[in-house]
Symmetry: C2
Subunit: 791 residues, 2 copies
């Protein structure tokens, strides 16, 4: 036996206290200690919250506390069933953290009343484990991410144990299903351990769960197939379950310690079989067995609020009273409502309390990223368009130092695309981590490394979130189209960041950075399914203080942008930049200046003398290329036309300053885009986003946007822009159609453009590649007699 009778009794007191506090939170507005019979007005008018999962979470928390105290374990707790918010709050209240961060919720009768009342109450706290919950880095409202978050937290935290409760409902989701394989991407030497606890309580909202209704043998095979040793705890008698659970915790921790000690002793690597716990207890355990004659405990009916009519139904109210009394509150709390000392003493001390562990409040641990001035990596740009670089490849060079200078606090995540996205320079200083078999044919694969690649965008996103929320830095590089796979995860992270802004005890964490390359215009080779620029549209719906979108047009602007993003805190930064060879436009200093302003006139491409006939604007690398090419045509053939060229790096600058912190004032916007001249705007993504960002602007009616209109296939790069009318020839036509009185030369030029488009199309279909004049094009002012025309 692992526990003495006294120890069991102690643990059970904590379990009962936490259950009592959880039920109180769900039901009561007043009379927290049941000092008189429950009355109608003691009960909240709206009963919100989820009882079903709560006792299981309380059990696990209680036993983790014992493990932590006995062995001085450094542990955090992630509740996959985030709906069990009352459990996490109850435990944080029992161990004192809750009152420390929210002094109003004191550890006495008044505090308990406030604790109960605030739960799921207007002006109070959410029903879930949320940013407001001390000790949490995982909301759990949207299911599927607890294991990837847990593994992200464990990375580079060799002494940390991350206990991660997986609900058997969550078990059915796709992201969770594959995240079991995350155990092949932790390194027992440099990373901490994740202890998955699959809690089989058997039911979801209205259905049994799949893992609870396949044979135990089948489930065990599955979990062993995921690479785990399975320790089973099963029962419905609390004392029996306590004894099993204590033994399971000890065993799991023994195994973790043994794995780590062996690996860290320098023994030859072999992939460890990490332990996990399979906990089988009834749904709504210790709650009402039956309500109105139908079974509740152990069924899906215990999922939310088992007694729905407690305010007006006397029987229900009496049942609630009996239920709460069954935890024997007077043994748990003294007459003033204080947790009895012997129970409080079951909690670990100080930051060993899971609710106070700084790893669950990463802003406390975060150190600034070590990163050099981006100009150390800038490419030399003798003149605009004279040189060509692959922007992401150059950024890969910059990452070499970032990786080297932040050896245990920076990671690069991606779904098997780091090399494809041309960031492979990092392999000069690090490897891809892979815990499964490595063969001689493999390259850059090792049991430890800063690059983490699994063909699961969900897992990459979850890892990165877990890594950032525990105070580190990172980057997710992904094909642009497939980042939509994590749309809903981004929503949840944005909500977390937004909520955190108003929680003073949570300092900011590093920004979540996306580098979306292999973007829509250069997925000509992979075809239609790989072409989608809509992730930008998705993120701009989130709170403006959280979201930043950057479209650097060339290598040096990408370097400047990435340095800024990697150093920043508390944002979601979306950077879209191509990986293909593209022209350089700006020197390092120019890029620095341009990115600081976020958008601006490119004088060297403009001849407007402060009074343009037309503004040509571009956001994105391919749009910039097409706009500049169009300008060259226009300036050669219509030299009298005064053109202003504006490039936009920071998309949020287009919005009103009242709509976004980066927004330009109306005055500044008008000065750039004029109040009455036509603006032809070539944009990387869906054109209507530009309208949505600028509809309040004075000159909006004159704004004409070209972008991706969901026309694509497997073809050539130039055919892609032609299919969407964003090619240089069409942009010239757009200008001619919008500037009045350009005369007959313009009409002629327009026809030439129509012909050029036809010729380009025909050439491409005949030769399978782009027209040479389009491929070989460069910005060369001299060639096109521009020098004379620029005053």
């Amino acid at each position: 036996m692992t526990l003495t009778a006294d120890e069991i009794s102690g643990i059970d007191s904590w379990f009962r206290a936490a259950n009592y506090l959880a039920v109180g939170q769900i039901y009561l507005m007043d009379n927290p200690l049941l000092e008189r019979e429950l009355r109608r007005d003691d009960i909240k008018p709206r009963l919100l919250g989820h009882w079903g999962t709560t006792p299981g979470l309380n059990l696990i928390y209680a036993h983790l506390n014992r493990l932590i105290r006995e062995r001085d374990v450094n542990a955090i707790f992630l509740a996959g069933p985030g709906h069990g918010g009352p459990a996490a709050v109850a435990s944080a209240y029992l161990d004192g953290t809750y009152s420390e961060v929210y002094p109003r919720i004191s550890r006495d009768r008044d505090g308990m009343r406030s604790l109960f009342r605030q739960f799921s109450f207007p002006g109070g706290i959410p029903s879930h484990v949320a940013p407001e919950t001390p000790g949490s880095i995982h909301e759990g409202g949207e299911l599927g991410y607890v294991l990837s978050h847990a593994y992200g937290a464990a990375m580079d935290n060799p002494d940390l144990v991350v206990a991660a409760v997986v609900g058997d409902g969550e078990f059915e989701t796709g992201p969770l299903a594959t995240s079991w394989h995350a155990n092949k991407f932790v390194d027992p030497v440099h990373d901490g351990a994740v202890l998955p606890i699959l809690h089989l309580n058997g039911f979801k909202i209205a259905n049994p769960t799949v893992p609870a209704r396949i044979s135990r043998e089948e489930l065990t095979k599955l979990l062993e197939g995921f690479g785990h040793e399975v320790i089973v705890v099963e029962g419905d008698d609390p004392f029996d379950v306590h004894q099993q659970m204590a033994a399971a915790m000890d065993r799991a921790h023994d195994l973790i310690t043994a794995i780590q000690q062996e690996a860290r002793s320098g023994a030859p690597y072999h992939r460890p079989t990490w332990p996990m716990i399979l906990l089988v207890t009834p749904k709504g355990w210790t709650g009402p067995r039956e309500v109105d004659g139908v079974p509740v405990e152990g069924t899906w009916r215990a999922h939310q609020v088992p007694l729905a009519g407690t305010r007006d139904n006397d029987t229900h109210r009496r049942q609630l009273q009996e239920w709460m009394e069954s935890y024997r509150p007077r043994e748990l709390f003294d007459e003033d409502g204080r947790v009895r000392e012997e129970i409080a003493a079951l909690a670990p001390i100080g930051t060993r309390r899971m609710s106070a562990n700084p790893h669950a409040n990463g802003g406390l641990l975060r150190k600034p990223l070590r990163i050099k001035d981006f100009r150390s990596y800038a490419v030399s740009v003798p003149s605009p368009g004279a040189t060509v670089h692959e922007a992401t490849r150059e950024f890969g060079r910059m990452l070499i130092d970032v990786v080297r200078d932040n050896p245990d606090s920076f990671r690069l995540f991606g779904p098997d695309e780091t090399a494809s996205n041309r960031l492979d320079a990092v392999y000069q200083v690090t490897d891809k981590v892979f815990g499964a078999e490595i063969r001689p044919i493999d390259e850059h694969l090792a049991h430890t490394g800063r690059v983490v690649e699994m063909l699961s965008e969900h897992t990459c996103q979850g890892w990165l979130e877990g890594y950032l929320l525990t105070g580190r830095h990172g980057l997710f590089s992904c094909y642009e189209a497939f980042i939509h796979i994590v749309d809903s995860m981004v929503n949840q992270h944005a909500k977390w960041l937004h909520t955190t802004r108003s929680i003073d005890w949570r300092p900011p964490v590093s920004s979540l950075n996306y580098l979306l390359t292999s973007h829509v215009w250069r997925q000509d080779h992979n075809g239609f399914s790989h072409q989608d620029p809509g992730f930008i549209d998705h993120v701009v719906n989130k709170k403006s203080e959280i979201v930043r979108v950057y479209l650097p047009p060339d290598t040096n602007t990408l370097l400047s942008t990435m340095k800024h993003c990697l150093e920043s805190r508390h944002y979601i930064n979306v950077v879209v930049a191509g990986k293909q060879p593209e022209f350089d436009w700006l020197t390092g200093d120019q890029a620095d200046d341009h990115c600081a302003r976020g958008l601006g006139i490119w004088d060297w491409a403009s001849n407007d003398e402060g009074d343009p006939d037309v503004v040509l604007a571009a956001a994105g690398d391919v749009p910039t290329l097409e706009v500049l090419a169009a300008i060259l045509i226009l300036r050669k053939h219509l030299p009298q036309l005064r053109i202003r060229m504006i490039n936009v790096v920071d998309l949020m600058r287009l919005q009103d300053e009242t709509q976004h912190p980066h927004g330009l004032t109306g005055r500044d916007f008008d000065a750039l885009f004029t109040t009455d001249r036509p603006v032809v705007f070539a944009y990387h993504g869906y054109p209507w986003l530009i309208h949505r960002l600028t509809y309040r602007r004075t000159n909006h009616d004159n704004l004409h946007v070209r972008g991706y209109r969901e026309a694509g296939t497997t073809t050539t790069p130039f055919d892609m822009v032609m299919m969407n009318d964003m090619d240089r020839f069409h942009l010239v036509m757009d200008v001619i159609d919008r500037v009045p009185s350009l005369g007959s030369r313009a009409a002629e030029l327009r026809q030439q453009m129509v012909d050029a488009r036809r010729r380009a199309k025909e050439w491409t279909r005949a030769h399978g590649e782009d027209l040479p004049e389009v491929q070989d094009w460069t910005w060369n002012a001299a060639d096109t007699e521009l020098e004379g025309s620029v005053s």
Copy 2:
């Protein structure tokens, strides 16, 4: 031995022919039969496509052909590694279907040249298995969905075998990982069988795959844990592999037949252990062993194009020639380029050919849905706002007949939310299908049923897509916030539908219908993580001919809308409607009329006499309620104010008719929304979407939109609208602020509104529920002296 030497030799000829045609597609523009030495100009300038997975797909196809011929099996083929497009095209060409649907691609030298040239060539076909590929219902560009598509196809097709190839890269994705459990949701009596074939070729783009690098024992446990009997085929010698594969196919089919026969004999139900095949062959099998001194076959280097320099590098070009010659083309094709008869004869006949099976071209099989006039289910509405119904519950009643009248061609999919979304009336006539253990405590659970629930939005979406693409009807009911989980899948389905529009041999399939209930405004109880109306924004970026968005404001409009959507073809219909008790506004006939128009003036709420001072518009059930409540306040206190009330059901009506087929003409829009009066618009989702849809409209500058601004938490319903300034009180303020010269009574009323908001806030925080006057509010013209004021 399953095969004789002759049979092996025959199968191998097919395999070689398919490989030859695949390599030809990737590389050649001309000289398809290698009638002369390959020259530079025979080679495409851009080499696109994926060789790595292709030989494995060819092998499987060849052996499925044998099985089909020998046993007259009705089978379709889904290639998870859709990148292996050349394989599917090669097989369809070999069996003749390709030339039947594309007569230009004839079965001779010219046809073969065209076949090769068009692949991944401008104006040609995509590099993936795409809608253009006969026999396909699965694109495979975005990985993860092959099994859910396959199971969706198998449902209600008892005689169909769906062979589904899972790549070992795809194996790592979340959606695929959980879709193995789809085998617990097919019924061996009424559904067909899915034969998963996990193809372990060991590598992704630049990495080994997880399943290839865990022990075979571990992988077997995993697959058995998913519920399968695993039949292994492994090797790199084609003849040996052919022998193994033939035996595996026979064994798999024997098992499938035995399972089905037993189940269909009326024997007591037990969950079958379905077979699957684990196929282990080298990546890029039969391709170049080494290129430039480094190994290629059997490594990640074979992923795309193994010989990259064939146009300009003579050695590479010679290697290509040797590689293609290694298939001995002269044995495969006659001197005119015709497939030799003995090889062509290895294909099944007619619609037994997988490329010609009508199940992979569902529009051929689709029959119209049997559905009654929605007015048979309409609720009685004596006057606007006099009655209350739960819209989705009433729709559930309508579904009873849909389920009954379409017993084998309509299904309802959802992630454990059918009852929560109040559609549970359907359980009067059907059950939820569940193949795992069913216990007495379970309700409405059976081994067969029309409702399919698994806690995986990905799987639900995949099932529904597979079900629709094979010619049936269905509905996905989901919480609004969590439908974002399938954003990227919707993208892919929209692209499929868009592409299909221009393929004449693919008749339209049923629309993909979403009913999003438990929406943003009524997730007050579940909190911030459950609040997100952005799916609408996501879908409207797709091609306008595909996308429809409906926001029915009450029960009868929901019924009318759903009937329309369920009957429609070729769209993605997004319907958002609440499940909570809400007022009825329109009778059945009025709803019919209103939904037919898509938007319109509600005369009974308007007093504008054709010349409004202000337009109040609403889209969505909660916005409609708040707008009507605001109008009641305005008309009571400012009776001289002429108000026009517009309700929008079909959101796409707001767009220009040039932007969307449902778009209103400028003239009609101006007639409704005026050209110069203030419009206060309460919208269900993010307000800027309305601006994005209407920025071209004359009166756009006077349009003021309220909607969800990403402000939410766990609170009350009215507090939710107040947090976003969309409440009735604020709408009254918005009107007063925008209509000039309303006088001192208006200023007073404005102050009353400020006070009302404060009072509502305070009440809610004090009592935990909404102000009674807000809860009890009804539209009652008599009460508010409106009868006199309406002229």
